[in-house]
Symmetry: C2
Subunit: 271 residues, 2 copies
Amino acid sequence: MVHSFDIALANRLADAAGDAIRPLFRGSWADERKGDASPVTEADRAAEAAMRAILEAECPADGIFGEEYGAIREGAGRQWVLDPIDGTISFMAGRPIFGSLIALVQDGWPVLGVIDQPISGERWVGRIGEPTTLNGQVVRTRSCRELADAVLATSSPHYFSAEEAEPYMALAQAVGRNKRQGMIVYGGDCYNYGLLAGGHLDIVCEAGLKLHDYAALVPIVEGAGGTMSDWQGNPLDAGSDGSVLALGDPARLEDVLEAMSGHGLHHDHGH
Amino acid sequence: MVHSFDIALANRLADAAGDAIRPLFRGSWADERKGDASPVTEADRAAEAAMRAILEAECPADGIFGEEYGAIREGAGRQWVLDPIDGTISFMAGRPIFGSLIALVQDGWPVLGVIDQPISGERWVGRIGEPTTLNGQVVRTRSCRELADAVLATSSPHYFSAEEAEPYMALAQAVGRNKRQGMIVYGGDCYNYGLLAGGHLDIVCEAGLKLHDYAALVPIVEGAGGTMSDWQGNPLDAGSDGSVLALGDPARLEDVLEAMSGHGLHHDHGH
C-alpha cells in the first residue's frame, strides 16, 4: 500500500517540475550551441532542484536518486527516483511528448510512479495494488489477441546495440502482420508507456534504460493491467539490466519473448 | 500571390477536418480489428468528405486530389491536395503529433499549405511570397552553421528502401556530432516540418512520400525561411519522386547532399 501522503507528495513534485520546465519549452536554442547552459540542461536542472527541495523539506530521511544531481542517502529503504525530462530530444525539438518521471522505490521495488507531460497537461499516476489514473480518471490497457495485431512502440532505433538490434527487429517483424502497414511507433520515450496504460498501443520495447527511466513506469503499466519485464521476462527492480518490455496484455509476454529469441516465427505462422 | 479568399477557405477546410477527427482521437480500437471501419479510416474519410463538400460548394471548377477519395477534375490548373490524417500511426497510438494537410497546387506548384494539429490546436499556414504563421504568429526557421550542429528528424526508419537507407544513414552519422548524444528525432510526420518552420529542428529527411504528404509542407517551410527539395536538390512539384529534404537553413543544402552522397565526411572533418 502506498500512503496517500506519498501520492500527494508525488503530485506536488510533478507540479514543481512542470512549473520549471514549461517556460523553457520551445525556447531559443541560440545559447545552447555555446556550451553547457542549454535550455534543456537548464530545464532539467531547475526541475530536479525544485523536486529535491520539496523532498528535503518533507521527507529528510528518504534517499533521492536524480538524473542530474545523483544520489543521496543511498542506504535508505525509501528512494525517490527522478528524471526531470525523459525524452530530451523531443523536448529540444518542441514536441509535447516528453515527460517528467517520479518514482518511489521501496527496498528496490518501484511502488509509486508518475509520468507528467507539462505541456499537454497529462499526468499518469500508478501505485502498487491500485488502478492507474490519467488526470484522475482510471485507465486500462487493452487486450491483444495475437502478436500480429499488436502496435509496437520504441523511442529510437539508435538506442539498440548491435546485439540488441537483432531481437528487436525480430519483434518488429512479428507485429502488425494483420495490417496493411507496419504498426510501429517511433519516438515518444516515457509517453509511450502512458499511451500503453490507456489502451492505445500494445507493446513498448527498449534497451539501455536507467533506473530513473523505467522505475516510474512499472506501477503505471501494471496498475493499468499490463506487465513490465526485462527482455528475459524478469520483473524490473533497481538491479535490472536496462532492457525493458511493457505489454498491455500480459498474456502476450511469452509470444513476445519467443519472437525476440528468434523462435517466434514458426509459432506465429501456425495461427 | 495567394488570394485571401483561398487562405480563408483553407482555414475553413482545416476547421472542418479537425471537427471530424477530434471525436475519434483515442477512441476504442475494439472495432478496428474486425475490418475496415476502423476509427482511423472513419476519421480519415469523414475529414476528407467534409473538406470536399466545402470545396465543391465554393470552388466547383477546382480539381481535388485526396488521399482517401482520389482525384477529380485532374486537368484543372488549381488543385486542392488533401491528406486528412498524415501520421496515421501517431493518430492510432493517441499521440497529438499527426496532422491534416491541405495544399493548393497551381499548375503543378504548391502555393498554399496548411498543417493542422486538431488536438493541440496548432495550425501552420504558409503561402508563396508571405511569411509562414503558427496560429497567426509569424514563425522563422533557425540558422545552422554546420551539419555537426544539426537536429535531424524522420518519421520511421522503416520508410526507407534498402537503397534509400544508405544515404539516410550517412546523413544520420553527419549530424549531431557536436553533441553528447545523437540528435535525431523519430516519428512525427508532418508535425516535424511545422517544428522546423518554427526553428526547433534543422533537417527533415524522408522518402516514399506522395504529393498529398509533401505539397502542403513546401510553402510552410519556404515561407519560414527554409528550403525543400528532393534528395537530388531539385524543387518539389507534382511530379517529384517522393524523396524529400527540408532544411531550416538553406545554406546547408549542399552539405546535406554531399553527406548523403557519401562524400560529406572528408569535407566535414576539414572544419
